[in-house]
């Protein structure tokens, strides 16, 4: 592409954007609406906003270290603990099984005794890890994390308003951050992924993490001096998408390459990755369209 065609392309893209940015806004709005409706539907079905794992409902997680024959364990344990789930961990290089993780809502002693009977040896700290959370604790744990999520969102909103001191741009950022939360949540629910306490911490992180591109966009659009509005928006877009891409590069390997890490740990990165994807849509379509609309009304060029 020559400089000339590049310029023509840029100009026509700018024109296209000028004419259609309000229409494009419909896409993310629709996505947010679908997410919200799905979460509402999910709530009516499950009486909760999400599926919770044993760290939030109470129960036992046992990690058995070594080459365990999963087939021998499965059927006797399933008949005794109907809600038990299994996950096998394999070595990164050799692909050999190195451990098995079991999760159930039952009490630890019960599960331990059954496993010991099947395996024929005692579970010690040399060959296993056992984590147990009582139902009363996990229930209050969950409630508190929800409160923390709410407080976190309110504090973030306050910071955004203090930064920009204008209503529409502030609301645009907050709406984008809200969509960054509900889109991954809807997707997690749809995939029936059970969320851990660490997963909720990831949502909190997302609140902080996802607004930096929105702040970049709004700052460049409202405070920038050089070029016209479209140029500044496009500049912010180039910087911001690269930021989100590097962030994705940082979080995705924990999910796809180094798969041996603890589940709760990997979930943090899964949720961050989903949120960052959502953030690409919510910053560069939703927030950008609203800011452009606002600038057009206010005569900022």
């Amino acid at each position: 592409m020559t400089e000339e065609t590049k310029k023509i392309f840029k100009v026509s893209l700018g024109k296209f954007y000028d004419n259609n940015y309000k229409k494009i806004l419909l896409i993310p709005l629709l996505l947010s609406l679908i997410s919200l409706v799905y979460i509402g539907y999910f709530y009516s079905q499950n009486n909760d906003f999400m599926l919770k794992d044993s760290s939030l409902t109470g129960g036992t997680t046992i990690t058995l270290i070594g080459e365990i024959n999963l087939q021998n364990l499965k059927s006797p344990l399933i008949s005794q603990f109907p809600d038990i789930t299994f996950r096998e961990i394999t070595d990164l290089k050799t692909g050999k099984p190195i451990s098995v993780i079991l999760e159930t809502s039952a009490e630890q002693e019960e599960v331990k005794t059954s496993i010991e009977k099947i395996l024929g040896y005692n579970l010690t700290t040399e060959n296993s890890s056992v984590e147990f959370t009582g139902p009363s604790l996990s229930e209050s744990f969950y409630k508190q994390l929800m409160v923390a999520l709410l407080i976190s969102f309110i504090l973030m909103s306050l910071v955004v308003f203090i930064l920009f001191r204008t209503f529409i741009p502030g609301i645009a950022v907050i709406f984008a951050a809200f969509s960054d939360l509900i889109m991954p949540l809807a997707l997690l629910n749809f995939l029936e992924i059970r969320i851990s306490a660490a997963g909720i911490a990831a949502f909190l992180m997302l609140i902080g993490y996802s607004v930096d591109t929105d702040i970049l966009l709004t700052t460049r659009a409202l405070r920038g001096k050089a070029g016209n509005l479209n140029q500044r928006l496009f500049g912010a877009f180039k910087t911001g998408t690269f930021m989100t891409l590097t962030a994705l590069i940082a979080v995705l390997p924990a999910f796809f390459i180094v798969t041996n890490l603890p589940d709760s740990f990997r979930q943090i990165f899964l949720i961050l990755a989903m949120g960052l994807f959502a953030d690409l849509i919510n910053t560069w379509i939703t927030n950008m369209s609203i800011i452009k609309w606002y600038c057009d009304k206010k005569g900022i060029e």
Partner: protein, 502 residues
């Protein structure tokens, strides 16, 4: 080349960080604790000494230590044990393994939490009762005593509270976990010695002034066949207070002689632990009406083999002694959370984290190079990322924070926001805006400050929610972004200015 103070600040802080983390290449086994009044204690061995060799055989790690000890003990006769530490030499004459707990010499000053080093954690609350802070403090004192008396080293017992005002006792044990932990921390520990329906004495210092735990007065005295497998019996003597002894005299005074066993009294002394009968002792007829202060307590342990029965009996004896010394709690306890993490998993975790870090560094370097086409810029970003992680770790070591899995996730998340900020600085610096480079970097800092405050705002509630179980995540993220905004970001913008000027 003249460097600005911002870069000097970064270099200075990095050097301090290196000192704080202080990697050590020392080998040996460090003593974590020595059981009081044991032979090892009397020989002068103390916690924090680093064992270098035993009987001339070199000890480079905990495995060596265990191999050597296992090759010597158990033994019939007292043997001479020469333990050489870094600074001195200790000689023990003993027929049992030294009552010390050892660990590998830590490679750095970074403290690792449960997920990384293995260990146990328990959260305990009173059943059907909310504890006042005074009650909680009493509970913590009693539990700490129990754990210490039982010989569990490297344990921290503290109170935690959560957003809804619940108070818990949090117990954390590093390294190997005793199998008895659950019982030790959840037992109310109500010990009663009864004759018929009358209580003679109970556990605790008011009634029991001394509990023999070593020597002739305490130990396993017989083993034999039981209904299932084998059984071993233990006994140890205790000294009663005058009040308890008088009680004993009054109650036994009314007893007759057992017609079937004429050398004993007609009723037995029943021992109850948490309302369960653990043993019944015959009372010799000459003890009738005597205000004796010396009482022998006995009990047993069963197992499928004699060896197992012996171990169980020994453990039961230790538990009972512990409870007799520390007394009971005025309420029942409930364990709301208990995790025992294998040290094996922790090692695996650290290995995987290092692989993950390398993969992430490599991928980010590649994408930065594709975008900016400059080795220098790529290096600057990567080195800044690395500095941030290192300074965060150093601060964690400084405040003695135990790094757990959430803390590590927080460090990675902090690094992620760090890279984002650096991209903002770079793009502002190379942008075509018609203002000075200084002005542009100032703009970048407005954006960075905004992002900084939103991250802090978002993570702050995690400090209190859920009794601080996820505090590490919030803490390291916040340390990371603070290091970024105060130290690495200013230095990075100076480096970028220098690179762009060239």
């Amino acid at each position: 080349m003249k460097l600005s103070w911002r870069i000097w600040l970064l270099i200075g802080v990095l050097m301090c960080s290196a000192l704080l983390i202080a990697p050590s290449f020392e080998t040996g086994a460090v003593i974590k604790s020595v059981e009081k009044n044991s032979t090892a204690y009397e020989s002068g061995l103390r916690a924090d000494f680093v064992i270098k060799s035993i009987n001339g055989e070199a000890v480079t790690n905990i495995q060596d230590y265990q191999n050597i000890i296992n090759s010597i003990f158990p033994t019939e006769n007292k043997t001479r044990l020469t333990i050489t530490t870094k600074d001195s030499e200790f000689i023990l004459f003993t027929d049992q393994a030294p009552l010390i707990i050892v660990a590998n010499v830590p490679k750095t000053k970074i403290k690792t939490g449960l997920d990384l080093s293995g260990g146990a954690r328990a959260m305990v609350k009173a059943e059907n009762k909310s504890l006042s802070s005074q009650e909680l403090n009493d509970l913590i004192t009693i539990t700490s005593n129990r754990l210490n008396e039982f010989g569990i080293a490297d344990v921290s017992v503290k109170s935690v509270s959560d957003l809804s005002g619940n108070n818990f006792m949090l117990i954390e044990v590093a390294g190997a976990t005793p199998t008895d932990l659950t019982e030790l921390v959840s037992k109310q520990g109500k010990f009663e010695a009864k004759i018929g329906n009358e209580t003679v004495f109970i556990g605790g210092q008011e009634d029991i002034t001394y509990v023999a735990r070593t020597g002739e007065q305490s130990g396993i005295y017989s083993c034999g066949a039981a209904t299932e497998g084998k059984a071993c019996s233990f006994r140890f003597s205790i000294t009663l207070s005058e009040k308890a002894a008088k009680n004993h005299a009054n109650i036994t005074n009314n007893l007759g002689i057992d017609p079937e066993n004429p050398q004993y009294l007609s009723e037995k002394l029943d021992l109850y632990l948490d309302d369960q009968l653990t043993d019944s002792l015959y009372i010799g007829k000459d003890l009738k009406g005597s205000s004796t202060t010396q009482i022998s307590i006995s009990g047993s342990g069963v197992g499928s083999t004699e060896q197992e029965a012996y171990t169980v009996a020994e453990a039961n004896m230790k538990k009972l002694q512990t409870i007799l010394i520390t007394g009971s709690l005025p309420y029942k306890l409930e364990i709301v959370k208990i995790d025992t993490i294998s040290p094996v998993l922790g090692k695996e975790f650290i290995k995987n984290i290092i692989i993950l870090a390398l993969v992430v560094f490599a991928l980010i370097s590649i994408s930065l190079f594709i975008k900016y086409r400059k080795i220098k810029i790529t290096l600057a970003v990567i080195l800044t990322m690395f500095s941030e992680a290192m300074i965060t770790l150093a601060i964690a070591a400084l405040i003695k924070w135990n790094l757990d899995a959430p803390s590590i996730a927080g460090i990675i998340a902090g690094m992620g926001t760090g890279v984002n900020d650096q991209i903002v600085i770079l793009d502002e610096a190379i942008s075509e805006e018609q203002v000075s480079l200084k002005e542009r970097i100032k703009n970048a800092f407005f954006i960075i400050l905004g992002a900084f405050f939103t991250i802090i705002a978002a993570m702050l509630p995690l400090f209190w929610a859920g009794a601080g179980m996820l505090k590490g995540f919030a803490l390291t993220t916040i340390i990371g972004v603070c290091v970024g905004i105060l130290i690495t970001r200013p230095a990075f913008s100076e480096i970028v200015k220098k690179i762009l000027k060239d």
